[in-house]
């Protein structure tokens, strides 16, 4: 059907465009104000202050002053690069373990838990009801020498293997890399599970049926449909785990030894014990930059922009 004739223009009285009053137009900005102020005072200002600290020289007695001493960055990096690498390695391993443990659990909650879904979700969050410190200390007991876990691992000769790999030492677990990674994994697991769950739960169950209908076996359906669609959850889960884990020092302090120090512990020591503020500030900035670069590359590579 083609209509060539145009409808006659309807005479419309020029509507009086009511300009919203100035007050009304400012409402969004008033609503933004508390958040912006908060960010300014507690994020932007400290960042600027920290940046200036990192290029200062001096000592606690004589006072610090800005001398644009960028050498601090280089010194910090050359002195503490083992801790940097260790941090990224431990955080990366813990993130991978969280993903391996968390994905099946999130999948289970999203698709199989049925009416138990909420109960399981509460159980996932339940550890948060106890303080982070207490929970980490509890792991000290769990992994203690002569404890049940170590005994079992010893009997099964697992420790022989892990010791050979350098993860544990002879028949100890505590004060080894493995203990720190275990602690990190345990503490950050909920941060992996929750975003994974959210993104799995959003997947339309009929897509699974459609894939099955189109000759995909359950395994292929997972590989070609479920997993790609859960990528936003994988990305945000790994970020929420990796970023805080790479800066964490509690696990390394409580469960590790001097050989398992992470960069977080170094910063903490520099800041609170050695009182070398410039080095501590420089280390923080380097950590921030490294994580930022890694995260940017990661997000680009995973190509999840148009999935979210």
């Amino acid at each position: 059907m083609t209509i060539t004739e145009e409808a006659p223009p309807v005479p419309v009285a020029e509507p009086e465009i009511r300009r919203p009053s100035t007050r009304k137009r400012l409402v969004p900005y008033w609503l933004l104000l508390p958040g912006i102020l908060w960010l300014l005072v507690f994020f932007a200002l400290p960042l600027v202050y920290q940046a200036s600290t990192s290029v200062q020289t001096g000592s606690l007695e004589k006072g610090f002053e800005v001398t644009w001493h960028f050498q601090t960055y280089w010194d910090a990096l050359t002195d503490y690069y083992p801790q940097f690498i260790r941090s990224l390695l431990y955080a990366g391993t813990a993130t991978l373990l969280c993903l391996l443990l968390g994905y099946p659990l999130a999948y289970l909650i999203a698709f199989k838990a049925g009416r138990w879904r909420n109960v399981v979700l509460v159980l996932v969050i339940a550890p948060f009801f106890t303080s982070f410190l207490i929970r980490t200390l509890a792991w000290k007991t769990i992994l203690a020498d002569g404890g049940a876990v170590v005994d079992v691992l010893n009997t099964l000769h697992v420790l022989d293997v892990t010791s050979w790999l350098g993860w544990t030492e002879s028949n100890r677990v505590l004060a080894t890399p493995m203990a720190v990674v275990c602690g990190l994994t345990y503490n950050f697991l909920p941060f992996m599970i929750l975003p994974l769950y959210t993104s799995l739960e959003r997947i339309d169950g009929r897509l699974h049926e459609a894939a099955g209908d189109l000759y995909a076996t359950p395994a292929t359906t997972f590989r070609k449909v479920t997993f790609p669609l859960s990528m936003p959850g994988v990305v945000s889960g790994t970020l929420l785990t990796f970023i805080p884990a790479s800066g964490d020092y509690v696990n390394a302090e409580l469960l590790g030894s001097t050989d398992t120090k992470m960069v977080g512990s170094v910063i903490q020591t520099q800041f609170l014990r050695v009182l070398d503020y410039p080095t501590a500030a420089a280390l923080s900035f380097i950590l921030m930059a490294v994580v930022l670069i890694m995260v940017t590359v990661y997000i680009r590579r995973s190509g999840t922009e148009d999935l979210v």
């Binding site: 897509l207 459609a210 099955g212 209908d213 189109l214 000759y215 995909a216």
Partner: protein
């Protein structure tokens, strides 16, 4: 997969599905001949979708078997069945573009060069220019056609359509009905189409199975179902029927029934119910078969026609026809559709009228059924 062997019929034998104590589908036998366009028609909850899902393998049958071309496929998982489904909400993969959506089935079967087939299939559904788009960038009608293409490209022996047009607006739905019919004629695959829209079923299908309460109420060609409904449900669900309850006076080649103070007749072969003199019978006649005459002109009505007197209580002009509702001693509100050939000034609300129709257009039904079965659902579907 393109083999067109004879005997590729879908055969359901004693198939049923129960959820706990609820019987969604009661044991039913159904044969869908190869190459036919078959519709399962019914209101929501009548078991039509469950039946379809059992054929697809997405639902496990509680009892009975599904066979395809003589091969029992009851125990096969969906990915091993040579059938494909067009889902109600299309269920397109949001992370894949249109090409990959359509190619999905081919790739799963290890076919590497999908390009040509995908292009051809997109051409068939007239979506050649959209190959690189993502599903969410397409309109509902386009998504629907992608869903059809994604299923058809696999050359299934049977294509299952689960209310595929439900989400589209009326005009697009009409267009897609013709489109699907065209595609079916072109590819010659068996289509099993589930719908609650009686017009859709009648427009598209060669054979319609009307389902109600987990059973197949009646099965036949659309015209046959419409003209010769065997139950009140079918009579009311497919279009509109005027059902008049009466008492059998005599039965021979013609059945004579006393109803509403007069006598109505119908051919014996159009009555599916057993008749005994003095027994009750339901007479049915479609609204468009009835003619209206003003009570003053009653003498002009030809002899031998069934007559019912009444009074117009409502009339609505809808362009091609005028629909009257007539109150009569013969029954509740009787519907009459008159073609608007000429304006008939006398037929206004409140006018005394005579309804008359050819006795051959009357069908007889067992009076033991609910006279209103299937009535409300018609309104739901409209």
């Amino acid at each position: 997969m393109t083999q067109q062997q004879t005997g590729g019929d879908v055969r359901l034998t004693g198939i049923s599905k129960t959820y706990g104590s609820f019987a969604a589908v009661k044991p039913l036998d159904l044969t869908v001949p190869q190459g036919s366009f078959f519709a399962l028609l019914g209101a929501s909850g009548c078991g039509k979708t469950t039946t379809l899902r059992m054929i697809a393998g997405l639902e496990e049958a509680t009892t009975g078997t599904v066979s395809l071309g003589g091969r029992d496929i009851t125990g096969l998982p969906p990915y091993k069945r040579p059938v494909n489904t067009v889902f109600q909400s299309y269920a397109l993969f949001p992370h894949l573009d249109i090409t990959e959506n359509v190619a999905f089935g081919l790739r799963r079967r290890g076919i590497k060069s999908v390009r040509k087939q995908v292009d051809e299939m997109l051409e068939l559904v007239q979506l050649g220019d959209f190959a690189k788009r993502k599903p969410h960038q397409l309109s509902g009608g386009q998504q629907q056609r992608v869903a059809v293409a994604r299923a058809l490209i696999n050359h299934p022996q049977v294509l299952l359509l689960d209310e595929p047009l439900g989400a589209l607006d009326l005009k697009l739905r009409r267009q897609m009905q013709l489109e699907l019919k065209r595609i079916q004629t072109e590819v010659g695959i068996t289509f099993i189409h589930v719908t609650h829209d009686q017009e859709e079923a009648m427009t598209m299908a060669d054979t319609v199975a009307v389902m109600n309460g987990g059973r197949v109420e009646q099965l036949g060609a659309p015209a046959d179902l419409y003209e010769n409904p065997r139950t009140t449900f079918v009579a009311n669900f497919l279009g509109t029927s005027n059902l008049i309850e009466g008492e059998v006076v005599s039965a021979g080649t013609e059945i004579v029934v006393a109803a509403g103070g007069g006598k109505l007749r119908l051919p014996t072969d159009r009555c599916t119910a057993p008749t005994t003199n003095g027994g009750k019978l339901l007479l049915g006649v479609r609204p468009e078969k009835i003619s209206l005459a003003h009570a003053d002109d009653a003498d002009a009505i030809a002899d031998g026609r069934n007559r019912v007197t009444g009074r117009i209580v409502d009339s609505s002009f809808i362009g091609v026809s005028t629909q009257y509702v007539v109150e009569s001693p013969a029954g509740k509100a009787l519907h009459v559709y008159e073609q608007n050939v000429e304006r008939r000034a006398g037929l206004v609300v409140g006018a005394e009228v005579v309804l008359h129709w050819n006795p051959a257009h009357t069908f007889g039904l067992d009076a033991a059924q609910d006279i209103d079965a299937g009535v409300e659902t018609v309104e739901d579907a409209a």
